[in-house]
Every structure is written in structure tokens, then in C-alpha cells.
């Protein structure tokens, strides 16, 4: 989660995660909870580095759900859902994007801090050579 300046292009290391929705009764569920959004209070977000970051974060993963099997982790920031940008969304709009009834699969681009460190380590190792 790099420094987030509104209006400026954002550079982040992302990971592609594909989640197949699970049918439970009448609903298609993904098995995680989101928090955040541009209409929410960013200061209460425990996962963000920059407390002004109003992006959508994964706050909980139901154990055994499709999100867990797809390797989504708690604290991930969702950057894109099926090609739609999620960095400037209200909470409700984000929820709607994730719960579209006619989609079976959601392809997320998520970023997390450990990704950046991993890249840095690998690049650093490369550069040392």
C-alpha cells in the first residue's frame, strides 16, 4: 500500500485472485467481508498504513469459504474487481460490484504489504548480482 495521493496515478504490486462464488440457498457468496470506501471514516481502518486511504479492504475471511481457498488474506486492499477500479468507490458501490448476480466468478486485483517486500527482496537479490 504505497502512499496514496488522490488524483495521482497509483503504483502498486498486485496479485490476481480468482474467486468462484459459492451458492448458498438463494445467494451467491464469496466468503469475506469488506470495509472502507470513500464515504467511510478512513481513520478507523486497522489494516491501512496511510490512515487517509479510503480504499476497500478485506476485513474478515470466513474459514473454509471460497475466498480462503483462493488465497485471499485479511488486510488485502482490493484494487480492481473484474476490471472495474475499486480505489474510488463508496462502500455500497463496492458491495454491489462484488455481488452481481449474473457473475459466477470475480477476478480481483489485490495488493498487500508483503507483496511489496517480496518484490523488493527478490529485486534486491537480483541487483546484488
Amino acid at each position: 500500500m504505497s502512499n496514496f495521493i488522490p488524483g495521482q496515478p497509483l503504483v502498486a504490486v498486485v496479485q490476481r485472485i480468482e474467486i468462484k462464488k459459492l451458492r448458498q440457498g438463494d445467494n451467491l457468496i464469496l466468503g469475506f467481508s469488506i470495509g472502507g470506501g470513500i464515504d467511510q471514516d478512513p481513520g478507523q481502518n486497522p489494516f491501512s498504513d496511510d490512515k487517509a486511504d479510503k480504499g476497500i479492504y478485506v476485513t474478515r475471511i470466513t474459514p473454509g469459504g471460497p475466498a480462503e481457498t483462493a488465497d485471499l488474506r485479511m488486510g488485502d486492499k482490493i484494487m480492481q474487481v473484474n476490471g472495474y477500479d475499486m480505489t474510488m468507490m463508496t462502500h455500497d458501490q463496492a458491495r454491489k460490484r462484488l455481488t452481481k448476480k449474473n457473475e459466477d466468478v470475480v477476478r480481483l486485483l489485490v495488493t498487500r504489504k508483503s507483496l511489496e517486500e517480496a518484490v523488493k527482496n527478490s529485486m534486491g537479490g537480483y541487483q546484488r548480482q
Partner: protein, 524 residues
């Protein structure tokens, strides 16, 4: 100095001052000049308070020994060391205040005579026909009696309201005429005079027989007098109540300043009102509390000598010399600010230490006495009869343990000239009589109170109003005038109060709604 009254006013505008000075001179013919000569005589001795004297005072304070009864010595212009501080303030008080003379009642006496004349006139109007040509008068029945009653009550009301509003001893003598008062007196005089004129021509000459008309005439006079009194009330008492200007008052010696709101007044009236507030609000001016010790200030200039390396004009020399000295002194790295800082911290620490000692001593002293209740008289055993004292003796008894701490504290805060031992014992007696706590006893000494506390109110105080405009002109924006006394002055600046544009915004009480700043979590 030309003919001046007790309060002299300087003004530099020519035309108005000339005419009013003429009036003033005519009025001042009776006034004696002994006051002025006494000022001139005393001024020779009082010339002494200047810089060297204050230094002597402030340094002598520490090594003077602890006895309260100061021996007095002769005050002359040359011997600086032999004057004592209390003598100086006593003399200064004598000098500054004047015994309240009967002169100040002259103006009000004039007004009183005129008022009495105006009040007696209707009765004279009624009485004269009865006395002079009683038999030819037409008898008048009930309408006359109604008029008599209304006349009587209106006169009574006039009398009472005149007593309530105007019959007060004047609190100040103004340098110029109080314009509104003069206007009103002139109006009353003209009015009554014209009534007498008409009365003389129309009633006394032809011996008018219509008594009802005469009574009606007298009643109309009383009505008109009531209206004049209403006018007087509005002009003298009510008009200046609505605030219109803000006056900033700054004392020149120590910078104490206040802001006051006044209404539409002339400069002299505003000055009098201001001085009333001054005695109430401003802490007493203590000349012993200087800003910077001389040791710090005098070091700077004397460290340089200026050498002249060329042929120069002698007149340019001195200014150039002083300018180079000032420039050099400012460029040199001086540490006088650190000295000042440390010295101030040291003084403050000393004052606080002595204050702590004083508070403890006073608290302890107050525990030695308590109020004697009459009903427990039989409880005390006959072997140890308790001595019953009156407040004065009790005060003297407990003064001894706190005397030293008190004296040291007063020395540290340079207040020793304001409180003599006698006055401290008096204050102690007062506090004991009213069952005050030690803290209440100490409030007089711990903070410098308003000037009024230290005044001897049986004498008048002399102030000089210095202004560039005639002092009877009304207050305007940007005026500056000052009120001067011997050793300090108050500079007053006038600014008008801003015009207030008050708007309205109605808020429906149901519109107060709030939302929580959310961090909602939705499971998808």
C-alpha cells in the same frame, strides 16, 4: 501663567479658546492665585525626584535596618541621600491633592438660585394679585381649585425630581463650561424672565381681574418647567448612556491599559468619567518598580570612544558621533538581555520565597486568637482566666510574629511606602473584627490594588487635560488627548464602535441531525 483655575486646560485652537477664555477670565476674577504660587514654591523642592533619587531609594532599601519608625530629614534639592521614602510620598500627596475648597460649589450654587427662583415664580404669580388688588378680583370656583391642586402637585414633583437629579455635590471642576448645563440654565432663565415680562405687562400694569386666567398662566409656566426638566434629564443623563466610542487608556509610565465604552460626550466630560474608572480599575502606580535596572542599560553606550580622523564641520560631528556609537553598540554582541532575564527570574524567586514565608507566618499568627463566645464564660477554669481583648489589642498581640515576614515581603515587592506599620495594624484589626481568614487579610498586600485604595479621599486630585482640540467639542474618531499628573499621564485614543450589521438565520430544531462516521463491514 495667566489666570488659571484649579484644573487648567491647554488647547491650541485659537478662535474658540479666545472667546471662552474671556468668559473664564470673568468668572475667575474672584479666584485667588495663592494656589499657583504655592505650586511654584513647592516645585523647587519637588524637583528632586529624578533618576539619582530613585537609584538611591532602590539600593538603600536592602541595607536599611529593620525599624519602622523612620526618622525624617530635611528635603533639599541637593542632598539626595538624606530623604526618606515615606517623606517623599507624603510630600507628593500634599502636592498633588488640593484641599476641597468652596470654589467648586459656585456653579451649582448659581444653578440652585435660578432653580429656586423658577420654582417660586408660579407661587408669586398667584400671590401677587391676591395681595395687591384682592377686592377687584373675580372669584373663580371649581376650575380654579382643580388648577390649584394640579399646580401644587406639579411643583412637588418638580421639587422632588430636582432634588433627585441635580442637587448633588459636583465631583469635578471642568476647565471649560459644561455646555449643556449652561444651555439649560440660560433656557430656564430666559423662560422665566419672559414669563415675568409678560406678567408684568399684562397683569400687573392693568391690574387684570380675571383670576382664572392668571392661575392658568401660572399652571402653564409649571408645565413648561416640567418639560425643561425633561430636556435636562435627556441631555445631561440619558444621551450619553448609549455607547458609541471606545476609549483606549494607556498609562505612560508602566503601560497599563484599559478599554472603555462611552457614549456621545464632550472631551472634558469623557475625561471626568474616565478618571472615575481609572481610580477603580488601574493598579496603583508604583514608581519603585522600574523596568530595567540601570546597571544593564548604562553599560552599552559607555564602552566606545569615537575618534575623528578627518576635517569635519563641528555641527555634523556630534550627530555623526552619536550615530556611530549607537550603531557600534548595537552591533556589539551584548548579553544584556540574558542579564535582564536572569535578574527578573531572581527577583521573582525572591518574591515568591518571601511570600511563602509571609503566608505561613500570618496563618500561624491567626491561630493564636479566636473569637470569645459570651455564653461559655463559666467553662474556663478560675485558675487560668483568659484575658479578653478588644480587636485593637488582639491585632497588636498577633502582629509581632508576622511583622518581620511582612516587612521583608513589602520590601521585596517595593510596596513599603504604601503600608506603614500603623496601617497594617489597623487592617489587621479590621480583619479580626469581621472574622476574616488570613488569606482575606493578605489580599491587600499580595496584589497591587486599584489606586482608590491608597487615596486619601478627603482631598481633591489635580489633573491636567491636554488636548489639541477645544475640550468642549464632542468625541470623534481619531482624537487623542491626555490627562496629566505630575509624574505620569494617561494617553487616551478615541475609536468609534463598529456599526453592527446583524443578520438573521432561522434553524429549524428538527434540522439537527447527525450521522456516525462509519466503518461498516459488509460480507459478500
Amino acid at each position: 501663567m495667566d489666570n488659571e483655575s484649579t484644573y487648567s486646560g491647554y488647547s491650541y485652537k485659537s478662535s474658540q479658546s479666545r472667546s471662552s477664555r474671556k468668559h473664564r477670565d470673568r468668572r475667575d476674577r474672584h479666584r485667588s492665585k495663592s494656589r499657583d504660587s504655592s505650586i511654584r514654591d513647592k516645585s523647587v523642592t519637588i524637583q528632586a525626584p529624578g533618576e539619582p533619587l530613585l537609584d538611591a531609594e532602590s539600593t538603600r532599601g536592602d541595607d536599611r535596618d529593620d525599624n519602622w519608625g523612620e526618622t525624617t530629614t530635611v528635603v533639599t534639592g541637593t542632598s539626595v541621600d538624606s530623604v526618606s521614602n515615606e517623606d517623599l510620598t507624603r510630600l507628593k500627596d500634599l502636592e498633588d491633592s488640593s484641599p476641597l475648597q468652596c470654589r467648586r460649589f459656585l456653579g451649582p450654587a448659581l444653578g440652585g438660585v435660578l432653580g429656586l427662583f423658577a420654582l417660586v415664580t408660579p407661587l408669586a404669580f398667584l400671590a401677587l394679585p391676591q395681595l395687591l388688588w384682592r377686592d377687584t378680583l373675580e372669584p373663580c370656583g371649581t376650575p380654579c381649585e382643580g388648577l390649584y391642586i394640579s399646580l401644587a402637585f406639579k411643583l412637588l414633583i418638580l421639587l422632588i425630581s430636582t432634588w433627585a437629579l441635580f442637587l448633588r455635590p459636583p465631583r469635578a471642576t471642568l476647565p471649560r463650561f459644561f455646555i449643556f448645563r449652561c444651555l439649560l440654565l440660560a433656557l430656564v432663565f430666559l423662560f422665566v424672565a419672559s414669563y415675568w415680562l409678560f406678567y408684568g405687562v399684562r397683569v400687573l400694569e392693568p391690574r387684570e381681574t380675571d383670576y382664572r386666567g392668571i392661575v392658568g398662566y401660572a399652571a402653564s409656566l409649571v408645565d413648561a418647567l416640567l418639560f425643561i426638566q425633561y430636556l435636562a434629564l435627556v441631555l445631561l443623563e440619558v444621551r450619553h448612556l448609549q455607547p458609541a466610542f471606545c476609549l483606549k487608556v494607556v498609562r505612560t509610565t508602566d503601560g497599563a491599559s484599559r478599554f472603555y465604552n462611552v457614549g456621545h460626550l464632550s472631551i472634558q466630560r469623557a475625561a471626568v468619567w474616565l478618571l472615575d474608572q481609572y481610580y477603580n480599575d488601574f493598579p496603583v502606580y508604583n514608581p519603585a518598580l522600574l523596568n530595567l535596572p540601570k546597571s544593564i542599560l548604562s553599560k552599552k553606550m559607555s564602552a566606545f570612544k569615537v575618534y575623528n580622523l578627518g576635517e569635519e564641520n563641528s555641527t555634523n560631528n556630534s550627530t555623526g558621533q552619536s550615530r556611530t556609537m549607537i550603531a557600534a553598540a548595537s552591533r556589539k554582541r551584548d548579553n544584556s538581555h540574558t542579564e535582564y532575564y536572569y535578574e527578573e527570574a531572581e527577583v521573582e524567586r525572591r518574591v515568591r520565597k518571601r511570600k511563602a514565608r509571609l503566608v505561613v507566618a500570618v496563618e500561624e499568627a491567626f491561630t493564636h486568637i479566636k473569637r470569645h463566645q459570651d455564653d461559655e464564660g463559666s467553662v474556663s477554669s478560675p485558675k487560668h482566666p483568659r484575658e479578653v481583648m478588644d480587636p485593637r489589642e488582639a491585632a497588636q498581640a498577633i502582629f509581632a510574629p508576622m511583622a518581620r515576614a511582612m516587612q521583608k515581603y513589602l520590601r521585596a515587592t517595593r510596596q513599603q511606602s504604601y503600608h506603614s506599620m500603623e496601617s497594617i495594624i489597623n487592617h489587621l484589626q479590621f480583619c479580626i473584627t469581621h472574622s476574616m481568614t488570613p488569606k482575606a487579610f493578605l489580599e491587600l498586600y499580595l496584589s497591587p490594588g486599584p489606586t482608590l485604595q491608597y487615596l486619601d479621599t478627603s482631598r481633591g486630585r489635580q489633573w491636567t487635560l491636554v488636548s489639541e482640540e477645544p475640550v468642549t467639542s464632542a468625541l470623534r474618531q481619531g482624537q487623542v488627548f491626555s490627562l496629566r499628573r505630575l509624574d505620569f499621564s494617561l494617553v487616551v485614543t478615541v475609536t468609534p464602535l463598529p456599526f453592527l450589521n446583524l443578520g438573521e438565520e432561522f434553524i429549524d430544531p428538527k434540522r439537527h441531525k447527525f450521522v456516525m462516521k462509519m466503518q461498516s463491514e459488509t460480507s459478500v
